[in-house]
């Protein structure tokens, strides 16, 4: 089986500062991986680099054997769902926010039905009537789950989750973990949550932009 993503000796500089240095790792379909480390160690930068938001100084990022380049970046983005800590819903109400990506050409043919919206919301313990609520009136935790629901509706191959459970209570968090533990989903996440880390197969520890340690199933 070939890796879904592979970083090969990747270094990144942004505004004359090295933010990632010589990073190499691979992630296979179905893997659940966690990036951990202190603030500023480069966890989120790895996610952003994969999405082409930072220019590579050296090395190569592969997605399904295709190197990240201006030509492939759109394909990589369309196969990946990135959900951040403070997600932007980008629409006035929840229904519009969930349907936002389906306005874009790449997803236009796959617009979900109302029942699918409700089903995905319920999996994340959100009530169906939240669909009509205004985006500005919903809480931070609800916003995080709506962004996750939007990602799930897109049916992506890879989920990049950046501290997405920071505003969730224990029950909602477990619901999110249950959904993303699905063996069909590949997840690369940034979190300090020990419950989620316990469910993951790989833990990457970062220190000052370097990969300091890789733990697999509890082994170093």
């Amino acid at each position: 089986m070939s890796p879904l993503i592979r970083f090969d000796q990747v270094s990144v500089t942004a505004r004359n500062k090295t933010i990632l240095s010589n990073i190499s790792f691979a992630l296979f379909p179905g893997d659940k991986a966690v990036l951990c480390g202190k603030s500023g160690s480069g966890k989120s930068s790895i996610l952003r680099t994969l999405l082409g938001l930072y220019s590579l100084k050296s090395g190569t990022v592969y997605f399904q054997k295709i190197p990240l380049s201006p030509l492939s970046v759109q394909t990589i983005r369309s196969c990946t769902a990135y959900i951040g800590q403070e997600p932007m819903l980008g629409a006035d109400n929840v229904r519009e926010a969930l349907l936002l990506p389906f306005q874009f050409k790449t997803h236009r043919e796959h617009r979900p039905k109302e029942a699918q919206l409700i089903e995905v919301l319920q999996r994340l313990q959100l009530p169906a009537d939240i669909l009509n609520q205004e985006s500005r009136s919903i809480s931070g935790g609800e916003k995080q789950r709506i962004a996750l629901a939007r990602g799930l509706l897109l049916g992506k191959k890879l989920y990049l989750l950046d501290e997405v459970t920071s505003a969730l209570d224990a029950e909602s968090k477990q619901a999110v973990f249950d959904v993303f533990s699905d063996p069909r989903l590949t997840v690369l996440s940034v979190t300090h949550d020990t419950d989620w880390m316990a469910r993951c197969s790989i833990i990457f520890e970062l220190e000052a932009g370097r990969l300091a340690q890789v733990k697999r199933n509890g082994n170093t």
Partner: protein, 263 residues
């Protein structure tokens, strides 16, 4: 009907009028007398020089000379737009020049050759003031369009990135800011057309009436110029923003820091 001349003593009286606001400003504690004096002096010298040049231009009425004058106006407007929009001229000068020159020249040519139809299309009496008026308004619109678009993108960087991450192409991701910027650029002209004659008498029409034209003729010229201003502002701001996208973003659709001036 001939316009009455303003003789030198009367011009002196006119400058004297500024003493009244100057005194009032001084009384409320605004020490602006130096700035006001410099501005009035600059205006007088600049307009005197333009007057001399225009007189020469009108007398010679040579197509190349008229064209050169319009080219200079376009170049000055180009740099002025970018400076006021906070964008770096060395990256955007060509795009902005292309946008404003194509739209202003098109509108002016349309107005002069198809509508006014003077004996010579290059007649300085028509093309110089008309191109100048269209360009002046187009300049305002383009400053607003570029400034609004790039400040919205900087302010909503996360939202823009979210759109990209949700599968939007660059064009799909910038479209909301693009539309807002074009709307902001053309809104003053639309508002101005809607209230024209009710709120204020337009400058060109007033000028023509003072110059001895029949009011009805002045009205027709005013309508013509407003339509051309609207057309050129809309076209120029759309072309300008579209061309700037290829300069301001890298191949990964990320806004380049180095090409955008300090906000």
């Amino acid at each position: 009907m001939e316009t009455l001349d303003i003789k030198l003593p009367q011009m002196g009286l006119l400058y004297g009028l500024c003493l009244l606001p100057g005194l009032l400003l001084w009384l409320i504690g605004l020490r602006l007398s130096r700035d006001i004096a410099i501005s009035i002096l600059r205006m007088s010298i600049q307009l005197a020089l333009v007057g001399i040049y225009l007189k020469m231009l009108f007398n010679l009425n040579h197509p190349w000379l008229n064209g050169l004058w319009i080219l200079i106006m376009l170049a000055v407007a180009d740099l002025s737009i970018l400076r006021r929009a906070g964008l770096k001229a060395r990256y955007f000068a060509l795009a902005t020049f292309t946008a404003i020159s194509s739209s202003v020249l098109f509108s002016t040519a349309y107005l002069v050759t198809l509508v006014i139809q003077p004996a010579h299309f290059y007649d300085a009496r028509y093309i110089v003031p008309l191109a100048g008026m269209i360009l002046g308004n187009c300049l305002q619109g383009n400053v607003i369009a570029l400034e609004r678009f790039y400040s919205a993108l900087r302010k909503n960087e996360n939202e823009y990135a979210t759109f990209l991450m949700l599968g939007a192409t660059r064009w799909e991701a910038v479209r909301p800011y693009f539309r807002d910027a074009v709307k902001a650029a053309i809104n003053p002209t639309i508002a101005s057309m809607a209230t024209m004659g009710l709120v204020s008498l337009p400058g060109m029409m007033t000028g023509q009436i003072l110059g001895g034209s029949e009011p009805w003729l002045a009205v027709k010229y005013q309508i013509a110029i407003m339509i051309c201003i609207f057309t050129s502002t809309a076209i120029a701001s759309i072309i300008n923003l579209k061309l700037s996208l290829n300069i301001a973003f890298n191949a990964y659709d990320v806004l380049k820091d180095e090409v955008i001036g300090k906000s």
